[in-house]
């Protein structure tokens, strides 16, 4: 009996092994050797594995999982680099660009990563669910991973049942059609039309409706909502029928080697201060190479990133043959140009005059990648952090986070490499030395008014503008500034200079190129007011009265008179308070007259409008006071410092590890050899005030502060400043030293030659013969 059980177990094990090997065979389809891409005239399938018939009413969106499945293993692909965000088993490898949660009102720039890269926070640590993460960053994600959660890991507050999951979007990279539209993808993700996004972005059809407006119980099989055809319209798709043939097979213009534009949709990085025409691309791109010629992968989509030591994390690699050295030096750098060349016909660099220690201690990218080190770090914008590449009427891109490059930092193997840098900014709860970032919503709940100083002014400007002539616009005058409403309903700096009366009046009208007083001058004590003035005053006060959640009744104080609208009439009464020399608008509450916006708001708007910052130190102190009422300690981290409230309720800036800048290596853009560091000699880096070693990185962020952290470039590199200055100084004397060495060598060499000649003369007897003669 025992033997029987044993044999059954063995048979089962063998069968299991065989089935595994068959599975592996199926997954790793061997390449037949043909280098073309098959024409993809294929039936589209929906998420129920049903063929899509575009002429049917209410067809479902296409599903990559089932459409591509007959030939490509979806499960295998979904483990690829681009689709494993948040996957527990994902090997992280070298640090990459973190996802940055940008929330301007609260001054939050929170770097997030599922990979525990230094300085980043795991989304679940701060309470972000897969749903939240997808809504925040799905705009630049390729689907899969965290945006396609397993049913058992779905959190209660999410709406995956309505929106569907974000499947791996194969078309995002492989669709060669010019209709492939990343902006459409972002728009559909924002509308929570997750399962429709690939169809819309791929240009396969037109997607309407918004899942975000549909009730939480709606399901895709429910179809259209007959009760609401205007607001809560469930998402639907109308396929482009010209793509389909009579057998309902769609032509997808698929390529195995995606063009650069597909990569750049999510991986663009460009200097912030230049125009598009000024931008020089990577030298490899200019030479005609495509991204995918270096960044390759097989069906597993384990994309080769191309850094040294990647083989530890990528099963496709067994060495460094896809690194800079792999192409430019070949297998064995020590063998020089005589060895077989590297990949892609890359030129062999001779590096004449470079001490070999440079190749041991520096990555190739130090000298060849990123911008030339100038006096200041170069500010760049990246697709994912600054929301680039999403086009429409609304402005999607953000100024924050401010990302700088290059700072040179050592990797795990001690090699210096160029990195990008950003200074995190966020509110946090502090317990001992431990920091827990707060979600922006938590901060807003406690201190919304403090964090939205321009909201009241914007509402007032909007209300005033509505009752002005069509060519007039209400503006706010602050010391040295004219503030106007922008398209997003916020305040922006008007390009017009402040008028002469800006010291005395707060509210004005912009008409054409002129800034005029909102209330023209009049005699308040006159028996009867000019009818035009009267109607203007009534209009303004009524417009203000239409605002909700205001502290009192709108009124105008001018000299010793108070004007109010009472039952559509302008009522004038004596004003016992201090006489105003100019007409002042305000709120009358319990007999007390207050200006329309408080002094705090005026001060804060005056400081912030027209700048990149969104917070003042005064606001931070007030918010911390509001948060600390919860009997816990809260801090604000920004510009490399941790801001805390002292015993005297004054703000203090302290150092803290959580405030340190977050950095990640950069590899592109690669500059041509003639623009590489060292082309002008050692002095490119080794001199007494070399920007490479001594320029400074000043903490930046949403906070307007003078207490920002300043770090020297050499501190990032772990190099001693004094030694590097001494070493730099030695290069100033080096030409002299070379000349001195040459002279001494000449003298010794000549004497050696003489001695050698003498020895030869003695040996040959020539000298003795000469002496005898």
């Amino acid at each position: 009996m025992h033997k029987f059980i044993k044999s059954i177990v063995y048979i089962n094990l063998i069968a299991f092994g065989l089935s595994l090997s068959c599975l592996a065979e199926q997954k790793q389809q061997p390449w037949d050797g043909n280098r073309t891409t098959p024409v993809h005239l294929i039936p589209l399938k929906d998420e129920f594995d049903q063929i899509i018939v575009p002429t049917e009413s209410n067809p479902l969106p296409f599903s990559a999982r089932f459409t591509c499945a007959p030939c490509h293993d979806y499960k295998l692909i979904s483990g690829g680099l681009h689709f494993r965000t948040g996957a527990a088993t994902a090997p992280s490898g070298r640090a990459g660009e973190p996802w940055v949660w940008v929330e301007e009102k609260t001054g939050t720039l929170l770097p997030l990563s599922f990979d525990r890269w230094p300085g980043t926070w795991r989304p679940e640590e701060i309470g972000l669910s897969a749903w939240d993460f997808t809504l925040l960053f799905g705009r630049h994600m390729a689907g899969g991973g965290v945006s396609e959660p397993a049913d058992e890991s779905i959190t209660p507050a999410s709406r995956w049942n309505v929106s569907g999951k974000v499947e791996v979007n194969c078309l995002a990279c492989h669709n060669l059609s010019n209709k492939q539209n990343p902006s459409e993808w972002a728009k559909q993700i924002l509308r929570q039309n997750f399962r429709w996004a690939a169809t819309a972005a791929g240009g396969l059809g037109e997607v309407g409706g918004m899942a975000s407006r549909v009730g939480p119980t709606w399901d895709i099989i429910d179809g259209p909502n007959p009760d609401d055809t205007e607001w809560a319209v469930p998402p639907f798709v109308r396929y482009d029928r010209s793509l389909f043939d009579s057998r309902h097979q769609a032509f997808l213009d698929i390529t195995g080697q995606p063009p650069d534009s597909r990569c750049l949709a999510c991986h663009s990085v460009a200097p912030a201060a230049i125009n598009k025409f000024q931008y020089d691309a990577d030298v490899h791109t200019i030479a005609g190479l495509a991204c995918v010629q270096c960044h390759r992968h097989d069906i597993t989509h384990a994309m080769i990133r191309g850094y040294e030591g990647e083989a530890e994390h990528n099963h496709l690699l067994d060495g460094d043959s896809f690194t800079c050295a792999g192409c430019h030096l070949g297998g064995d750098p020590a063998r020089g140009p005589k060895k077989p060349a590297g990949r892609l016909g890359a030129p062999f660099p001779r590096h004449r005059g470079f001490p070999p220690v440079h190749f041991k201690r520096l990555a190739c990218t130090v000298c060849h990648s990123g911008p030339w080190p100038e006096k200041d770090l170069t500010r760049v914008r990246t697709s994912r952090a600054n929301r680039l590449g999403i086009y429409g009427i609304a402005r999607w891109e953000t100024e924050h986070p401010a990302i700088f490059q290059p700072v040179y930092i050592r990797d795990a193997k001690g090699k210096l490499g160029p990195h990008r840098l950003l200074w995190p900014a966020f509110w946090a709860e502090k317990e001992g030395e431990k920091i827990r970032p707060l979600l922006p919503g938590e901060v807003l709940a406690s201190a919304k008014k403090i964090l939205e100083p321009g909201a009241a002014a914007a509402r007032i400007l909007n209300a005033l503008t509505l009752q002005l002539e069509a060519d007039e616009k209400a503006v706010l005058l602050l010391p040295g500034k004219v503030c106007a409403l922008n398209v997003d309903g916020g305040l922006s700096l008007s390009p017009f200079p402040p008028p002469s009366f800006s010291d005395t009046l707060l509210w004005a009208v912009q008409k054409g190129d002129a800034i005029l007083p909102l209330i023209p001058d009049f005699e308040p004590g006159a028996e009867t007011l000019d009818p035009d003035i009267e109607s203007r005053l009534i209009g303004i006060l009524e417009a203000l009265a239409s605002l909700e959640d205001v502290p009192g009744k709108p009124a105008l104080v001018y000299k010793n008179f108070l004007f109010q609208v009472v039952e559509t009439y302008l009522e004038k009464t004596d004003y016992p308070g201090p006489a105003g020399e100019t007409p002042q608008l305000g709120w009358l509450s319990e007999g007390k007259f207050e200006p329309l916006i408080s002094e705090f708001e005026q001060r804060t708007i005056g400081r912030l409008v027209g700048t990149e910052e969104t917070l003042t130190e005064e606001q931070v102190a007030l918010v911390l006071q509001a948060l600390n009422r919860q009997n816990k300690e809260f801090v604000y981290i920004a510009s490399g410092k941790m801001f805390v409230l002292g015993q005297d309720d004054k703000l203090k800036a302290l150092d803290h590890p959580a405030a340190q800048p977050v950095t990640w290596p950069l590899a592109h853009d690669v500059r041509p050899a003639r623009q590489s560091l060292g082309i002008n000699g050692c002095g490119d880096c080794h001199r007494i005030n070399s920007p490479f070693l001594f320029r400074r990185a000043r903490g930046t962020g949403p906070l307007q502060t003078q207490h920002a952290k300043v770090l020297s470039a050499n501190s990032f590199s772990g190099l001693s400043g004094i030694y590097q200055r001494l070493f730099g100084l030695s290069f100033a004397l080096r030409p002299l030293f070379k000349g001195f060495l040459f002279l001494t060598l000449l003298v010794i060499g000549l004497i050696l030659l003489l001695v050698f000649a003498l020895g030869l003369g003695r040996l040959s007897g020539l000298l003795e013969k000469g002496r005898r003669a």
Binding site: H351, R352, P355, Y723, L726, K738, L745, I748, G759, L763
Partner: protein
């Protein structure tokens, strides 16, 4: 680099041990002893001799030896050049070989800066010494007649020959050290050539050190002399 570490450590240790053994033989009267007991006695002698350098009076002895040695050079220029050459050479050998052998990163940082500075001092002093002393080490070879008279070429060399040979060997290795340092600073040599230059520099340094040890052994008074 590993090969250089092994070769330099082995050759320096073997040479010092051999020279020490010669002095041990000359200073201690030993009958026919088994190898192990001779070896033990040698080790004991070596330890005692080394320790005596650090004992009270050891430093004085060393200093007086250098005084005597310098005294044999008549001109102050020569004394200065000799002192400069030996002192800088001592630092160059300690920093260059010491760090190359015992520090995985090799020579770097402040020691490297001082090494370059010391190299400048050494080559200047060596140049002065070559100018001032070359004539004293010239009669390398016997007269032609003597050569013809003697049956063997090697036997024809005078007994004082090792010192001139060591002198010129030191000059040649010093020349090679300075030349490789200069060439590596010029923008003409590619990566592989730079590696070769470093290797030549290292081995020249090793040869210079071995020569200097032999030279010092020649100059130091023999036991019983």
């Amino acid at each position: 680099m590993t090969a250089f570490r092994v070769v330099s450590l082995a050759t320096v240790m073997v040479l010092i041990a051999l020279l020490g053994y010669r002095r041990f033989q000359a200073s201690v009267l030993l009958g026919k002893q088994p190898f192990l007991s001779t070896f033990r006695a040698y080790l004991f002698w070596a330890a005692r001799t080394t320790a005596s350098l650090f004992k009270k009076g050891g430093w004085g002895k060393t200093r007086s030896f250098f005084h005597v040695w310098l005294g044999s050079y008549p001109e102050s220029w020569q004394k200065l050049a000799l002192s400069g050459a030996w002192l800088s050479f001592f630092y160059l050998a300690a920093s260059g070989l010491g760090l190359a052998i015992f520090c995985p990163r090799g020579l770097y940082g402040i020691p490297l800066l001082l090494h370059v500075l010391g190299g400048g001092v050494f080559i200047l002093c060596l140049t002065l010494l070559v100018i001032l002393r070359a004539k004293d080490y010239l009669p390398l070879l016997p007269e032609q007649k003597q050569l013809e008279r003697r049956r063997s070429f090697w036997r024809s060399f005078p007994a004082s020959l090792p010192r001139p040979i060591l002198f010129w060997l030191l000059v040649i290795s010093g020349f090679s050290l300075a030349l490789t340092a200069l060439l590596s600073m010029l923008p003409y040599f590619a990566f592989e050539a730079q590696l070769d230059l470093i290797a030549i520099h290292r081995y020249s340094g090793l040869i210079a050190l071995l020569t200097a040890i032999l030279f010092l052994d020649q100059a130091l008074p023999r036991p019983g002399s």
